[in-house]
């Protein structure tokens, strides 16, 4: 596995540990989707697919694809025992009504007040928010999963988001290839760092002020 992939695996493994047995979880497209592969043994979680079911399973095997059963990205998937189908009104009632325990999404920017920008870059990328705004407002715990810095090496954890917000003050945890950060009313708290970095390096790669937890864990 290449080093970048190893870092991603470490990150998603850390996120997977947050889910207690029986949790209902919605995973965003991309890196968040990988979290499903690293649920600790002995725990069962159910995945919510916002296009209309609980119990999202692995991709459908070749030749077994069913056009009636796709995930929110349109790819053919499966449903696991314990799952059920419903329509979009129910799906988003489940989301907005606070019945989804965790949502994991990527971010363009996140800031010290838990504000999230992840759905558009004006003039460049305007695909629409899809279900992201509802998920971030509705899920009990919002976990941002992302690279700590952008392609140019600039921090993505800012004092204040500059891009249009997806939601205000809804992010609970930020997990990156470098750090595990909790959003609190008093600001961001660095609780854990990746095994190949240091607190100093994390601080350097973060624009927002970070409080350092009494005991820093490693992941």
């Amino acid at each position: 596995m290449d080093p970048k992939e190893l870092k991603r695996v470490r990150l998603v493994k850390r996120i997977a540990q947050e889910f207690p047995d029986g949790a209902l979880v919605n995973l965003g497209i991309g890196m968040p989707t990988m979290v499903a592969n690293y649920i600790p043994e002995g725990r069962t979680i159910l995945l919510h697919s916002e296009n209309g079911f609980i119990g999202l399973g692995p991709a459908a095997a070749k030749g077994k694809e069913d056009p009636r059963l796709v995930n929110a990205g349109g790819q053919p998937v499966t449903i696991v025992p314990g799952g059920c189908f419903f329509d979009s009104a129910m799906s988003f009632a489940i989301i907005r009504g606070g019945h989804v325990d965790f949502t994991v999404l990527g971010a363009l920017e996140v800031d010290m007040e838990g504000n999230l920008a992840n759905y558009m870059i004006p003039g460049k990328m305007v695909p629409g928010m899809g279900g992201a705004m509802d998920l971030v407002v509705g899920a009990k715990t919002v976990i941002v999963s992302m690279e700590h810095v952008n392609k140019n090496g600039a921090p993505k954890i800012l004092k204040k988001c500059s891009l249009p917000l997806t939601a205000k003050g809804e992010v609970d945890l930020i997990v990156t290839d470098m750090a595990f950060i909790r959003v609190t009313k008093k600001g961001l708290v660095l609780e854990e760092i990746a095994e190949d970095t240091t607190v100093e390096e994390v601080l350097k790669a973060t624009e927002a002020p970070l409080q350092i937890a009494g005991k820093i864990g490693r992941f």
Partner: protein
């Protein structure tokens, strides 16, 4: 008893400038036969209300790529690059709505409600120009109902009273849209006798359905690599 029409006859009244709801999610649950018939009819300047614009050549994506849409209401257009191009060039007006709000606005129309109050979109671009209401100490956006002249619904079975069964993930926005449009056309894989319907397994009550068409085209939404 609901009229059973040919696809051509069913879309006959969808004139230039009409508003159309099309259920489906990334093409899953699109009414492929009806969309094909509407493409052939050639109606233009449509207002299209659909969760997403699918992929360029799949289902509702064809309406966008075929220059049939003047105004689009959707929550996501990222999988059909032509939608973004037409939005940026000004050729198609696009109103992007959070997915949950999109569905509730349509459901509100069909349920006779004056709108919905939602926390989704507060403190974002979505709140611009909208009324806010404080209910029990929490702020909400007032989102108005959303209806249409026509709706295209895809069902696996539809009996002659219009009772539909929609399997798996094809339900998505179909129930809300069937409630919210003036003339609702169901495209069914099988048109059945009412005696064959288990009343416990009806996804959309027949009361909302205006006409039924037999599906002629297979679902072509799968993006197989």
């Amino acid at each position: 008893m609901k009229p059973i029409l040919t696809p051509e006859k069913a879309v006959e009244k969808i004139a230039d400038g009409a508003s159309l709801m099309a259920s489906g999610f990334m093409g899953c649950g699109n009414a492929f036969t009806l969309i094909d018939a509407l493409m052939k009819k050639g109606s233009r300047d449509l207002t299209l209300i659909t969760s997403d614009t699918s992929f360029p050549e799949v289902g509702v994506g064809r309406l966008v790529c075929g220059n049939r849409v003047k105004q689009l209401y959707a929550s996501h257009i990222g999988t059909n690059p032509v939608s973004g191009q037409k939005m940026n060039s000004g050729e198609m007006r696009v109103t992007l709505i959070p997915q949950g709000t999109f569905n509730e606005r349509i459901r509100a129309k069909g349920a006779g409600l004056g709108g919905v109050l939602t926390p989704t979109g507060m403190y974002t671009e979505v709140e611009k120009g909208k009324q806010k209401l404080s209910i029990e100490g929490k702020e909400y956006l007032l989102e108005p109902p959303l209806g249409a002249d026509f709706a295209f619904i895809k069902a696996e079975t539809c009996d002659t009273f219009g009772n539909c069964f929609l399997p798996m993930a094809t339900k998505n926005s179909a129930i809300s849209m069937a409630m919210a449009a003036d003339f609702v056309i169901v495209e069914a894989d099988r048109i059945t006798r009412p005696e064959e319907t288990d009343p416990e397994k009806v996804t959309i009550p027949g009361v909302f359905v205006s006409a039924i068409v037999k599906a002629e085209l297979p679902a072509s939404n799968l993006q197989l690599k």
